[in-house]
Amino acid sequence: MQSLSLAYRQLNNLVLGKPRAIRLALSCLIAKGHLLIEDLPGVGKTTLAHGLAAVLGLRYQRVQFTSDLLPADILGVNIYQRDTGQFHFHQGPVFTQLLLADEINRASPKVQSALLEAMEERQVSIDGESHALPAPFFVIATQNPSEQLGTFPLPESQLDRFLMRISLGYPPAEAELSLLMGQDRRELLSAMQPILKEGELPKLQQMAAAVTVSPALAEYVLSLLKATRGDKRFLAGLSPRAGLALLAAARAWAMLEGRDHVLPEDVKAVFSSVAGHRLGLAGDAQSELASLLEHVAIP
């Protein structure tokens, strides 16, 4: 736990003025979920992703997605070995503990689908042969808002492979000032030491999964799900799987807050990040969710 708060502080030094986003990102990883960071270029998405990898002490790969990227470029490819006369699987960058998929919406939908499938199954199938991905395996994808030209929005039905979607937004004024005056982020990044030792992350994940969820809280989650289903503002309500995701994220958040049980406030804290993309809301349409939270009574 101590190391976790240390990691949190480190990240706060790296990405200035975004404590909430960092907390969300951390709880997403502790809840074993993949993270989608959506925002304009240059607000620190990549820095946050790098920082997370570095602090958590994970092996990581970074892939810059472009429109000419092919699925094989990510997953890997079978190459014929002349000396052995056999095909040998050449692992792609996805075979790592933390994959940074930068600007995922620049890649073609085929590439996106391939990656999303790997995320879901935690394995790669090439030519009828499955290759398991290492554990833990996270994807932190970043994307620019879909309205930008030359992008392929992620297919909505597959968006729920990501546990959370967060956006960073512009930093507050004083944070931006110290960003301008302070050290170069790249230098800071390279100087960062892993804080979590090997095997510590799975332990934290187990701890998070053991955080108590009382019947009253489960009821609250249920009424939140119900509220999204009956609401015409949303195309389709949240699925039962979304409910589970919401609980997992809330558990991790509660643990980060230092509690052994989940409070309704924990659910509220992660709700818009977990539910926003599943309900097909644009990143800036979060007010709908806020008003929903305001109107669902806590049992």
Binding site: S146, E156, S157, L235, A236
Partner: protein
């Protein structure tokens, strides 16, 4: 409503601030006997006079019991309203000229069941009857016709209860700080949407193999089976259609622009026509882009709502 009562309610309302949430308390709740209550008072008096005249002691007891019951009824009627919280809930926008349902949220913490009536304070419109379970909340809708485009304030409301005896009416006036949105009333403008005329909806452009998936939207009559998102249907049991990036490519994207009309056309009829065209495109699945001075609404999820809201809120180049 009688002019006197109208004046009285006007006086009550004028003293009230607009508020987003209001919890009724003794300063807000007024109590008056109903006609039934008055007749029971008369009965109590008659019994009392009879008791006096015929020297019947038990009849005194009856007269006083009825009187005491009326007092208890006052308290119980007051309890029906005391502690009740009213707040504005999200109301669905409508087109100007239609009746919107002004959503009100009623909630309380008390362990009693309340039976309430709501109506607009000016006495027009239907009376909404509802029962509120102990420590629960409930959304009710007050019908309200929105005559013109734009944001309308919530109507002043009167909430009352005659429960549990019908002897005493407890009532209160409430001014909630909410807004009802009215989109412009659609006005047909066939000249500018002429390409739609005479075309069957099923003739909407079929997606080709190389079209790229763009987003999902509500299923519309005439969408081809290929367009239906079957996975979504299987998983969530809702019928949605895929929209493809190739669909509007270039010529397909219809631009609905403020500048389509000569300068002489006044704002409201312009907005009404734009509104009609937006709806027309939505109906036929046509991709479009709405251009207003200072705003541009491109194809995206919930484009319809965004476009209509922009039209509703338009105020001379500085849309909200």
């Amino acid at each position: 409503m009688l002019p006197f009562r109208k004046r009285l309610s006007g006086w009550f309302i004028a003293r009230l601030p607009r508020e987003s949430t209001c919890t009724l308390n003794q300063r807000r709740i007024y109590l008056l006997p109903t006609r039934f209550g008055l007749s029971l008072i008369v009965v109590a008096l008659a019994v009392w006079v009879g008791a006096l005249n015929y020297a019947v002691s038990l009849a005194y007891a009856l007269a006083f019991w009825i009187a005491a019951l009326l007092l208890v009824a006052v308290l119980m009627a007051y309890r029906q309203l005391a502690g009740l919280t009213l707040s504005g809930a999200r109301s669905e926008p409508v087109f100007a000229g239609d009746a919107a349902s002004c959503r009100i949220r009623l909630s309380h913490e008390q362990a009693l069941e309340r039976r309430l009536c709501l109506q607009r304070a000016d006495g027009e419109g239907d009376i909404v009857d509802c029962a509120l379970a102990p420590a629960a909340s409930l959304d009710v809708g007050i019908p309200q016709v929105l005559a013109w485009r734009g944001a309308h304030p919530y109507p002043d409301l009167r909430v009352w209860s005659e429960a549990p005896f019908g002897l005493i009416r407890a009532f209160a006036y409430v001014r909630l700080d909410g807004a009802l949105l009215a989109y412009p009333m659609p006005l047909a403008d066939r000249d500018r949407n002429d390409h739609q005329e005479g075309r069957e909806p099923s003739a909407a452009p079929r997606p080709t193999e190389r079209d790229e998936f763009s987003h999902l939207s509500e299923y519309q009559q005439g969408d081809t089976p290929r367009q239906i998102a079957w996975t979504v249907l299987a998983r969530r049991d809702v019928l949605v259609s895929k929209r493809f990036a190739g669909e509007p490519a270039g010529a397909g994207l219809r631009v609905i622009a403020w500048q389509d009309y000569p300068a002489g056309v006044d704002v409201e009829s312009r907005l009404s026509r734009l509104c009609w065209r937006v709806l027309q495109c939505e109906r036929s699945g046509q991709s479009y882009c709405l251009l207003l001075p200072g705003a541009r609404i491109d194809p995206r999820p919930f484009q319809k709502e965004a476009a209509l809201s922009a039209l509703a809120a338009y105020d001379g180049g500085q849309p909200a």
